[in-house]
């Protein structure tokens, strides 16, 4: 691939989302570089949070970028923001890996951290953190019940029934607790 606009290589250059999408659809290498710089840490953080293993998270992030590259033509602006779409790909790729038999076999040999561990434990590992102070604050304010249900549903891809079984609460309670958890997160993040 040839660089068509050398000036956009500059770190300070920013794109509007429609501009970026257009360049991604054209297969511009620089656009993918920009995408990585902008969203790489967020996507990598989510993947790492799901699989909890650095090497595997790196492989998955690469796979996610290839999936973005392959499927960008199918992405429609009307269906939501680019970041939401990429996050969806990243989360599902990571969850699929965790749920694959290969990963389970690996887990038997080399036990990974329990999924209900707080992210504070991650800071103790060699993985560099960016904004865990903010996350810790939110999590402690969120409460254990809400944090757990978000963890299982959003980061581990559990179904309603699986959440109900794991937390030993009725299906109806799962539904209402999901709602109150999201309302509280919105409040804590102060998103209007």
């Amino acid at each position: 691939m040839t660089v068509k606009n050398p000036h956009i290589l500059s770190e300070t250059h920013t794109y509007s989302e429609p501009e970026l999408i257009l360049l991604l659809k054209r297969g511009e290498e620089t656009a993918y570089g920009y995408l990585y710089d902008q969203y790489g840490p967020a996507l990598y953080g989510v993947i790492l949070h799901v699989v909890r293993q650095q090497e595997m998270a790196e492989d998955i992030l690469q796979e996610v970028f290839l999936k973005i590259y392959r499927n960008i033509d199918h992405y429609e602006t009307s269906k939501g923001r680019l970041y939401t779409w990429m996050l969806h790909i990243a989360r599902n790729s990571a969850i699929d890996t965790v749920r694959s038999t290969k990963f389970r076999d690996l887990k038997k040999i080399q036990p990974l951290e329990n999924t209900v561990n707080t992210t504070a434990d991650n800071n103790a590992s060699s993985i560099p953190a960016i904004d865990h102070i903010g996350l810790d604050k939110i999590i402690s304010a969120l409460g254990e019940d809400h944090r757990k249900i978000i963890e299982l549903a959003y980061f581990q891809g559990y179904t309603q029934e699986e959440v109900s079984r794991e937390l030993d609460i009725p299906l109806g309670t799962v539904k209402t607790r999901v709602r109150s958890a999201l309302i509280q997160i919105r409040k804590l993040l102060n998103i209007s």
Binding site: E29, I127, V174, I191
Partner: protein, 276 residues
């Protein structure tokens, strides 16, 4: 349920977290398309979860960017089969919904095809029955013609055989004429002077009375010799008779005898005779 109640029912939050069933997903998407308030509520929660996810951001290892850009570059120069990757970024639920939609489309298409097929079946059954009838007619006609052809062939063989007999240079003939009170009656006899095979040609003798039959005789060395029985009703062309015994043939004659023939001719019942 009004829209406010629907939005606050909890289904939106569960949908955004991927906890709803494929059927519920369809319902939410339909509501979202019809009611902007629902679409806004979904978007707001997605934004919330995007922001919550961002809090987990971790700086990837330094070398990873180069590796990933390299992988994209490699793929860019060798595009893989596209179909395999299309489904991979959909959630299991989305895949199920897409499958359901596809299935519905196929079901409609299949139903239309079935109806069209049934209509054509009706038309073709009619055509088939007509064709079958004309085929049966043709088959019968063909069988009739074949039978006729066989008969003709048999007759031709017989005529050819007769021709061979008559065209044999050794073949001799004598016309037997009516005698006594049978004037005008005629019969022709053919015999091979070498093999002594004998044939009776067509005659104009009347049908014999009941219980009676004609008998052919040869006079050899002054004695009458039985040459076989003759029924004008059976005759079609040359009729092969007994061979003439050795000796000098002086005459042939036909007499009327009782059924089954007689050892010696009844002289007063002689119909025709031909001297050689």
């Amino acid at each position: 349920m009004n829209i406010e109640e629907y939005i606050s029912s909890g289904i939106i939050e569960n949908y955004v977290l991927g906890l709803t069933s494929p059927e519920e997903n369809l319902e939410v998407e339909e509501m979202s398309a019809r009611h902007p308030e629902v679409a806004r509520a979904i978007e707001a929660y997605r934004h919330t979860m995007d922001a919550y996810s961002s809090l987990h951001a971790v700086k990837p290892p330094e070398q990873l960017k180069a590796r990933i850009i390299d992988a994209i570059r490699t793929e860019n120069s060798n595009p893989p089969q596209e179909s395999a990757t299309l489904m991979s970024n959909n959630t299991k639920e989305n895949a199920a919904v897409i499958l359901l939609r596809k299935w519905k489309r196929w079901a409609i298409a299949a139903t239309i095809l079935l109806i069209v097929s049934l209509v054509f079946n009706g038309i073709y059954i009619g055509k088939y029955q007509k064709s079958r009838d004309s085929y049966t007619t043709l088959l019968q006609s063909q069988q009739r013609l074949a039978a006729q052809n066989n008969t003709m062939e048999a007759r031709l063989v017989k005529v050819e055989k007769n021709m061979q007999v008559l065209m044999n240079p050794a073949m001799k003939s004598v016309v037997m004429e009516g005698v006594n009170n049978h004037p005008g009656m005629l019969a022709t006899i053919y015999w091979d002077a070498e093999s002594r095979q004998t044939y009776l040609g067509t005659t104009n003798l009347p049908v014999p009375p009941k219980g009676m039959a004609y008998q052919l005789w040869a006079i050899v060395d002054g004695k009458p010799v039985d040459m076989g029985m003759y029924n004008p009703a059976d005759q079609k062309g040359l009729l092969s008779m007994k061979d003439v015994i050795p000796g000098k043939i002086q005459a042939f004659a036909i007499t009327l005898e009782k059924q089954g023939g007689s050892p010696a001719p009844t002289m007063d019942q002689m119909y025709v005779m031909g001297k050689i």
